[in-house]
Symmetry: C2
Subunit: 455 residues, 2 copies
C-alpha cells in the first residue's frame, strides 16, 4: 500500500480541514497543492464548502485547471454559484468543456445569459446537443439526471463478441455493472450483467443470459421514485427510456446517493426555513437576507398568537398566574405535535402514508396524543396546584393541555396531508402551520376556560 | 419488456400500498401473493413498515418462507422486532440460516438468549464463526458492517487466469466491481477493476493493472467515515483490513446507502426526540411511552421558563400588555436560534465545522443574528406602538428582541459544539437546550427591562 493511504484513509475530515486551513493561512501554497493531489473531487468540494469566502477563493485558485470542472460538479448549488461568480469567462468555458452533461446543466442555471451562450458555442456539436437535450427535461426528472455514457449490445450476439467489443474501450464508464440490451432500432430489451458476460460460456447468446425484467424508468420519472428504486432494489445502474421504450441513457448509484442526500437535507433544513443548498459559510448579508424572510413569516404567526392573548386582557389582569403558566400549554402542544408531524412527513416521503391507512394512522396518533395528554396534564395539574395552591387553575390547565395535545396530534397528521394536496411542500410549511395552531389553541383553551370558570 | 415491467415501474409506492391494503382487507390472499412475487425484498419490507400491526402480521404470513430472511434484513429495527416477536422458533431459525452475517448480527440483538443459542447452534460451522467474528466488533464500525463475500486474486497471476477463475463462480457476489488483490498471506495490496480485467490483454499480470492506491478502511472505522468515503469518492465497494493490513471483507454501496439513510433519519427525528427506527405504525401504548419521555423532559424546561415569568408577577400585574407580547420575543429567538443550530449540526455531521473555522463561523452567525435582530425588532417595535400606543413598551420589546436574537445565534453555534465535546448527541439534545435558553433569555430580557424602566 502506498504512502497515500495514510491520508487516503481520512482520519475525520476535521483533521484534514484543520491542516488545509492552517496551510492556507500560513501561505504554504505548495503544501496545499500536494495535499489536494491526494484527494478526490468530492472531498475537495467538501473542503471548499467548509471555508469562509476569502479562504474558499484562495483554495480554489490552487486547484489545477483540468479538475476544476469535476470539482464544480460536486459542489452544492450556492457554493458553486459563489465560485462561478468570481471565475473569468475563459475559466468557466474551460471547466464546462470537461463536465458531464447532467452536471453542466446545473451549472448553466447559475450563469449569465451571455456566458451561457459563450459556453454553448465552445462545446463540440455532440456535447452541445446532449446538453440541450438534457436541459429540455424538467429539473428533478430522470431525463435531467441521466447520462448518456451507456454501453448497449444487441440481443442476438454471443458473449464472445460482447467481450471483444468491451476490450475495444480504453476504459469502461464508471459504475458499469450492466450492459443494456437493445434491438437494432434502439428499443430497450433488458440488461446483461457484466459478471454474467464474464462467467457465461463464450458461445452463449446475450438473449439467453439477459434479464428481460431488468429495471428501467421513463424520462419523466421523479427523482424521489428513482432514489426509492435504487434503495429498495439495491441497484448500481438503471436504464432510462423514452415513452416509446427507446433507450436514452442511464442513471447510476452515484446520482441516487446525491438525490438521497439532497432529499435528506431538504427534510432537515426546510423545517427551519432553510434551503438544502444553504451555505453555512456564505457571507453575512446574503445569509441574513435568506433567513430574514423566514423570521418575517414567523413573526406574522407569532403576532396572531399575541392577538389571541390580547382578547383575554381582562382575565390576565385579574389572575396574573395565568400569564406565568400559559406558555406551558402552548409549548407542550407544539412539542407533541411536531413529533407526529415529523413522523408523518417522513412516512409520506417514503411513500408509506396513503389514503387507505390514513384513517388508521390518524386514530392511532390521536390516541397517543390523548394518552400522553392525560398523563402529563395530571402532572402539570399537580405541579400547578403545589405551586399556586389554586385548584381551579390546576384543573383548567390540565383540561387545556388534554385539549391541546389532542389537537396537536390531529394537526400533526392532517396538516402535511392537506398541504400536500394543495401542492404546498409540507417539509417547508408544516412546522409553521402546526405551531401556529398549537399556540393559538393552547392560549385560547387555557385563557378561554379561565374566563369562563374563574371570572 | 415483460408484463412485470408495468408493476416493476412502481407508479408511486402509494398506489402499490393501496392495492395491497385493499386486497388484504378483502381477504384476496392469492392476489397479494402474486403481487409480492413481483417485488424486491426492500419493497416488501417498506410495505410491511407501512401497515398497522394487524395487517402487517397478515402480510407477513403470506411471504414465502425462503425469502423471509432477506425481507427481515431490510426492515428497520422496530418493525423487525415486532415481527420476530410473533414468529415461532423454527421460523426464526429457518430465516436466520439464509441471512447474511451482518444482517443476522442485527437480528440476534432482538432475540431472547435461549433463541439466540438455538439459532447459533442451527448455523453451520463456517456461518457461525463468521457471525461470532462479526458480533465481536463494535456496532457502527466497519467490522460489523462488512461482509466476507469478497473475491480476492493474487498479484502475480495473469488476467487470463483471473477470468478463468471468475468463470468457475455460478454467479459473482452482487456489487462486485473490483477484485481485491492480496499476497499469499492475505495481505491487502490493492484492487483490480472487473472492467480492467475484461478490457486488458489476457497475458498482462494483475500487478500491472491493479490500483495499489485503492481505498480501504480498517475494521474499527466509523460508519460516518465510511459513508463519507462512498459519497465523496463514488465507490461501489471498499476493502476492510485488520490493523496488520490483512484483508477481512468488504463493504458495498448498498451498506453505504443504508448508513446515509439512517444518519439522515437520525438528524431529522432526533430533534423531535424520536429514534431513527421509530415505527409510525407501531401500536398505541409503546408509541405513547416512547414519546411521553420526551414530553416529560420538555415539561421540565417549560416549567423553568414559567418559573422565570413567575419572578415578574409584579410587573405583569401592573402592565398586562407585557403578557400579550412576551411570546413574541421568546418565539422569534427560538426560530432564529434553530436555524443556526440546524446548519451547525449538519455542518458538524459533514465534517465541515472544526476548531480552525469555529471562530469565523460564530462571528458570522452572530452578525447574521444581530442584523436580523435589528431589522425585525424595528418592525416589532412599530407594530407594538401602533397596537398599544406605548412608546416605552415598544422600545423595550425591540431591545429585548435584539438581545435574544444575539443570544440565539451564539447558542445555535456553541450549544452543539459544547454538547459534542461532552459526548452528548447534539441532534438529540441541541433543540431542547436551545429553546430553553431562548425562552428564558426572551422572558428575562423583556420582563426584566420592563421592570427596570416601567415601574
Amino acid at each position: 500500500m502506498s504512502e497515500e493511504q495514510v491520508t487516503g484513509e481520512i482520519a475525520g475530515a476535521n483533521r484534514l480541514l484543520d491542516t488545509i486551513i492552517g496551510h492556507l493561512k500560513a501561505g504554504d501554497d505548495s503544501v496545499v497543492v500536494d495535499e489536494l493531489a491526494l484527494l478526490h473531487y468530492g472531498e475537495i468540494a467538501s473542503l471548499l464548502e467548509a471555508l469562509s469566502p476569502e479562504l474558499r477563493q484562495r483554495l480554489w485558485d490552487l486547484i489545477p485547471a483540468q479538475i476544476e470542472g469535476e470539482v464544480l460538479s460536486h459542489l452544492h448549488e450556492k457554493a458553486q454559484a459563489s465560485i462561478l461568480f468570481k471565475m473569468d469567462d475563459e475559466e468557466v468555458v474551460a471547466a464546462a468543456t470537461v463536465m458531464e452533461v447532467n452536471a453542466l446543466a446545473q451549472v448553466i442555471d447559475n450563469l449569465s445569459e451571455d456566458l451561457t451562450e459563450t459556453v454553448l458555442q465552445s462545446l463540440d456539436e455532440d456535447h452541445r446537443q446532449r446538453l440541450e437535450a438534457s436541459m429540455a427535461f424538467t429539473e428533478g426528472t430522470a431525463g435531467r439526471i441521466m447520462n448518456s455514457d451507456v454501453i448497449s449490445v444487441r440481443a442476438d450476439v454471443t458473449l464472445a463478441v460482447v467481450l471483444r467489443y468491451l476490450r475495444r474501450f480504453p476504459a469502461l464508464p464508471p459504475h458499469t455493472d450492466n450492459l443494456m440490451v437493445t434491438d437494432e432500432a434502439g428499443l430497450y430489451l433488458g440488461s446483461v450483467a457484466i459478471a454474467d458476460a464474464i462467467t457465461g460460456q463464450p458461445d452463449v447468446r446475450v438473449s439467453e443470459v439477459m434479464h428481460s425484467d431488468a429495471d428501467w424508468v421513463t424520462v419523466d420519472a421523479s427523482e424521489q421514485k428513482i432514489a426509492q428504486m435504487f434503495e429498495r432494489r439495491d441497484l448500481i445502474s438503471l436504464a432510462v427510456v423514452d415513452e416509446g421504450g427507446m433507450l436514452l441513457g442511464r442513471i447510476t448509484v452515484e446520482d441516487a446517493i446525491q438525490i438521497i442526500r439532497s432529499q435528506a437535507d431538504h427534510a432537515l433544513l426546510a423545517s427551519a426555513g432553510l434551503k438544502e443548498e444553504e451555505d453555512l459559510f456564505a457571507p453575512v448579508v446574503p445569509s441574513a437576507l435568506r433567513r430574514g424572510l423566514w423570521l418575517g413569516i414567523n413573526l406574522v404567526t407569532v403576532f396572531m398568537a399575541a392577538w389571541v392573548i390580547g382578547r383575554f386582557e381582562e382575565v390576565l389582569d385579574k389572575i396574573v398566574v395565568l400569564a406565568v403558566l400559559m406558555p406551558v400549554v402552548s409549548s407542550m402542544g407544539g412539542i407533541a405535535g411536531s413529533q407526529t408531524l415529523t413522523l408523518t412527513i417522513r412516512g409520506m416521503t417514503l411513500g408509506q402514508v396513503s389514503k387507505t391507512n390514513l384513517r388508521w394512522l390518524t386514530n392511532k396518533e390521536v390516541l397517543v396524543g390523548l394518552l400522553n395528554g392525560v398523563v402529563w396534564s395530571l402532572v402539570v395539574g399537580i405541579v400547578t396546584f403545589a405551586w399556586f395552591q389554586q385548584m381551579g387553575i390546576a384543573l383548567i390547565i390540565a383540561a387545556a393541555m388534554v385539549l391541546n395535545l389532542f389537537v396537536a396530534a390531529l394537526s400533526g397528521v392532517l396538516i402535511p396531508v392537506v398541504l400536500e394536496r394543495f401542492g404546498i411542500d409540507p417539509a417547508l410549511s408544516g412546522a409553521v402551520v402546526l405551531t401556529t395552531v398549537t399556540d393559538i389553541v393552547g392560549f385560547l383553551s387555557f385563557l378561554g376556560l379561565a374566563t369562563w370558570f374563574l371570572i
